[in-house]
Amino acid sequence: MKSQPRYDVSEIGELLWNGEDGDRSLMAVLEEIQARYRYLPEDALILVSERLGVPLSQTYSVATFYNAFSLEPKGRHVVNVCMGTACNVRGSRKVLERIRDKLGIQPGQTTEDGEFTLETVNCLGACALGPIVVVDGTYSGQMNGSKADALIREVMSESEGS
């Protein structure tokens, strides 16, 4: 089983410096932390603020303004449903409703067992394949309710089997 990446404060220091170019920008550091731990731990925000000399209030406002950042740990599997216009006219709403009911969570939430996070995105630019669902970075195109149901079932059974 793939375990939740553990947050290690000593790693944050490495992320801050970009070799001879000096410090990275605030957003770039937050993006790296988000990518590594799938969320922004509180201690990390404090450390980043201190090291970059940015007020914590500003770090917090940036961390909560942008969709890419999360203050809560995300699930092991991230299910992202494209709700762009092209996917919408091809029925992405039904796809989202079906996945929402299947997982029992609203977009933005994580299941209690920490297995799934459900998210929506406003267009991935792969409109020919709409509606699109992305599970852990893998795209599935031309979805409908029943295909979405099968897709989630498949991920669930793989998860249990591993």
Binding site: S25, L26, M27, A28, L30, E31, V54, Q58, S61, V62, F65, Y66, N67, A68, F69, M83, G84, T85, A86, N88, V89, R90, G91, K94, E97, R98, D101, V121, N122, C123, L124, G125, A126, C127, A128, L129, G130, I132, Y139, S140, G141, N144, G145, S146, D149
Partner: protein, 617 residues
Amino acid sequence: METIRTAEGLEEYRESLVARREPDKPRVSVCCGTGCRVYGSMKVIDAFRKELGSRGLDQEMGVVSTGCHGFCEKGPVVVLKPSGVFYQRVGVEDVPEIVAETMVNGAVIDRLTYTDPATDKKIVYERDVPFYQKQKRLVLDLNGDIDPTNIEDYIVFNGYAALSKALLQMKPEEVIEEVVHSGLRGRGGAGFPAGVKWRLCREAKGDVKYIICNADEGDPGAYMDRSIMEGNPHRVLEGMIIGAWAIGAHQGYVYIRNEYPLAVENLRIAIEQAEEYGFLGHNILGSGFDFSIQIRPGSGAFVCGEETALMASIEDRIGEPRPRPPYPAVSGLWGKPTNINNVETWANVPLIIDRGAEWYSVIGTDKSKGTKIFSVVGNINNTGLVEVPMGATLWEIIYDIGGGIPGGKECKAVQLGGPSGGCIPSAHFDVPIDYESLQELGSMMGSGGMVVCDENTCMVEFARFFMDFVQQESCGKCVPCRLGTRAMLEVLTRITQGEGREGDIEYLLELGGQIKESSLCGLGQTAPNPVLSTIRYFRDEYEAHILDRCCPSHACKPLIQYSIDVEKCTGCGRCLRKCPAEAISGAKKEPHVIDREKCIKCGTCLELCKFDAVVVE
């Protein structure tokens, strides 16, 4: 690679590359844009490499991994060169046959060719496919020919010749005049003349100036900028370097959506290569001019496509817009004069410098010059990227190039300009498209997302969708946008739920007008457009929802019912087994019935029924 320091050096290098090329060498060009990758094109390209390797043909035949060809509907798309044979929906299993039959024997595999839905005719060559035939590809011209991760491919096709011309033969003022004279207008939305903006920035006081490429392509349904960056990133860079020279900037940024990982990667590679060859960095092409480019990934905020919000984001702050003036040309990034153009605009620049403003300004209409790339998506047969001269009609794009509407349905409207734009009903499809004509119709060019709606798209629900989008993406800084869009959304939601009231339409019109007038930035000022334009053209649909409590397009859940046509139902039991609400009953081979009390209107039965027996009314 030694850096190139003179115009002659670049030409000599280009000639040496051209001499090394074997134009007659059989090779296969596989589209590896984001769309085709989803269909599995990376596996197809691996299969080609393996197949050629195992047959010992990898020296005499080649494989090119290209960016987006644009015909996304038919991916993975494969073109055999030099013949131009075009195969669509190619799978790994087809690869050995393509190598043996087409690449070795020169025979065409019938089943992989494209059939024109309009004439039912099989089409063998890419140049004969109506989707491509009727386009005018200036910006996307090289996407099917070059490997975007190989700078040499771009140089062979005259790449960086415009840069050499601008830096070594022209004064910055002359470059600006050329761009002014070409009539190029910003492709990101508002259509401001690019050359005029450059001139303002050049003339602004200050030693430090910046240029920015806005690659935060956030309009849902628009992906031409992504495809340009994925397929031909060097042309964007070349445009930016020319712009920097003209304006007098030494640092540039590309602010790019994080949702476009492949574009970020290809751009990153292109910047490294351009630095290595001497097109970026110190003393570019020996001209004494220094310029470097950094990539800044966005973090998923739609409002950051607005230029002042974008700059705030580069400055590591939250993406809130600020009032203009001062315009960025005077006070932009870190308070310095800054010029922002979007990806497609920058990509037009090398063409203008290379071939001249005279040549460019002949293309298009009186006030809108050049070509525009539209991403034609939604309920359309040929989803993909369409580049046409300004002045083409919607009819040409939707029917001649787009192949019409799937299932023989009627086209109700197209939505242009994303959440800032408006819809255009089919009655106006013969109007030549340019910045002005679209505005008169209550829509806008925007970035070029063109969403086609068939007869089953409810225009009220469509307007609600956009309002929901804008409401979520509103940064919250100004009241009209933050609260006004919420009020509009509440009314629209009520109407689609069958709880509309008389006076709702007038309320939406009034509130929409006020939000447009009083919002701080472009997001709020244009947010009511989708609602206003659907009321303008489809008021009857609003009235049907409010007065008759019905959705004429059968799309709004609370206003529709599912039932089964007893004449058509064969009692196969497919819907009964799959209904998540267990609302369907009936004996085997007997017509089934839907229990309306239990039915959650999820539409599963409609998707599954092979006999068209499920009726929505």
